[in-house]
């Protein structure tokens, strides 16, 4: 504790760059930020969100934000390294789990000579809401399976573009994640982040995504962690 107090005092004096190195600032509820070098920070948190689909890690350089997402991480990952940072800068971190079920998977093989269908719908890549009158709805918080998207469909629009559509059943989602798993990849990872109520989007595919499986997840955020803080030191060299 004395070590933390010394570090904080030096932060106030504006000279934390030298002496705060290697000090860890624990935050309540388990999130810690450790200065591994003057410009490298590693976060640690407990694996304490059963049922979470993953966690989102965010950072800011002012206590009130704006916070920027560093990544959507697998559910049981409990650390994150943030390297080669802006020197002599305050860094604030928080993590939060996210929850929600996925649609069924669709497998897509995009032929290299796929015809260009964009003329029929020039705005096809734009995320947009799609009305499905009479569709059953449920809250992700109460009934995740019933609130998961359904009817995911993929249409090859160009030799490197796919349009996805789905039916939204959730009433309380914070957004959707389009997740992809290229052939041979071990697991799905997010490839697009979409606002709530969206039911259609386009994806510009990478070569390795020409043959891939996709699914869409309606998600809601869990509780934010408290904020962990570190201040970087002078850049080496």
């Amino acid at each position: 504790m004395i070590r933390q107090a010394l570090a904080a005092a030096l932060v106030l004096a504006g000279v934390a760059g030298c002496a705060a190195r290697h000090a860890a600032t624990p935050a309540p509820e388990g999130l810690t930020a450790t200065l591994d070098s003057p410009v490298d920070i590693t976060l640690h948190w407990p694996d304490d969100a059963p049922g979470a689909a993953g966690r989102m890690v965010e950072f800011a350089t002012q206590p009130g934000g704006p916070y920027t997402t560093l990544g959507f991480l697998p559910p049981h990952q409990t650390s994150y390294r943030h390297p080669e940072l802006l020197p002599e800068t305050p860094f604030y971190y928080r993590v939060r789990p996210y929850y929600g079920g996925t649609s069924g998977e669709v497998s897509v093989a995009v032929p290299a000579d796929a015809p260009d269908l964009t003329a029929s719908d020039p705005q096809w890549p734009n995320p947009r809401a799609v009305a499905h009158p009479g569709v059953t709805t449920a809250a992700l918080r109460d009934d995740p399976p019933a609130a998961a998207p359904s009817g995911l469909a993929a249409k090859v629009m160009t030799a490197d573009g796919i349009r996805f559509t789905w039916t939204d059943h959730a009433t309380d989602e914070d957004g959707f994640l389009l997740e992809g798993k290229p052939e041979g990849a071990p697991e799905f990872t997010p490839v697009e982040v979409l606002d709530r109520d969206i039911g259609s989007c386009g994806l510009a595919t990478l070569p390795r995504e020409r043959s891939a499986a996709f699914r869409v997840r309606a998600f809601r955020y869990g509780a934010l962690s408290t904020v962990a803080y570190q201040r970087t030191g002078r850049a080496p060299g």
Partner: protein
């Protein structure tokens, strides 16, 4: 020297993000004392490029001709200049679009941060990968620090991703959407919280 009790309190406040500090100090990132700038800018629309405040759209898939929707900020010379901004691609089926440029006066683009399919960010000069994660819907933070006559550094989401020598002379910043020689739209990108400093 601060007492142990006061230091402990400061640590708690710092951890909670409640440290009372002057706004100017809070805004500072990077070494040194920065002075905020408010450079003027001109909007540039060419080809299928359209600008609406801080939303920049290339609506066509043309792989030729000049397609740009950008802000061109005023020229600076000498000193060290920092740019900070956040971009979010809201729609993309095109690729290899420059989103942020540091121009070397009349000598042309000096550093171009571009994005291609899959969210890969790269430097157009040399093709070096700068980072991933600029996927549709994801906000990315960019800081560039140009020490004129020294180095030009690019930080993405707080991390140093690109360093190159900076020659002397005049420079200016551009942001928006610009079709590179090998690129094509469509793309829509929104920038936010644009700030400038110098020292």
């Amino acid at each position: 020297m601060m007492s142990n009790r006061a230091g402990i309190l400061a640590a708690v406040l710092a951890a909670a993000g409640l440290l009372a500090t002057a706004p100017a100090a809070l805004a500072q990132v990077g070494s040194g004392n920065w002075t905020p700038d408010s450079p003027s800018f001109k909007v540039q629309e060419k080809g299928c490029g359209k600008v609406s405040d801080l939303t920049f759209t290339l609506s066509c898939s043309s792989g030729s001709g000049e397609q740009r929707a950008e802000r061109r900020y005023e020229t600076y010379a000498g000193g060290t200049h920092q740019f900070e901004g956040y971009f979010k691609i809201t729609s993309q089926s095109g690729s290899r679009i420059s989103l942020k440029q540091t121009f070397h006066g009349d000598q042309g683009p000096f550093f171009l941060l571009a994005v291609e399919k899959g969210g890969r960010m790269y430097s157009v000069e040399g093709g070096q990968t700068i980072g991933g994660g600029a996927t549709v819907g994801t906000t990315v933070r960019v800081n560039t620090i140009n020490q004129v006559g020294g180095t030009h550094k690019t930080y993405v989401n707080g991390s140093l991703k690109h360093t190159t020598s900076s020659p002397g002379g005049d420079f200016y910043d551009k942001l928006g959407a610009y079709r590179t020689a090998s690129g094509a739209g469509p793309i829509t990108v929104t920038w936010s919280k644009i700030r400038f400093w110098h020292q």
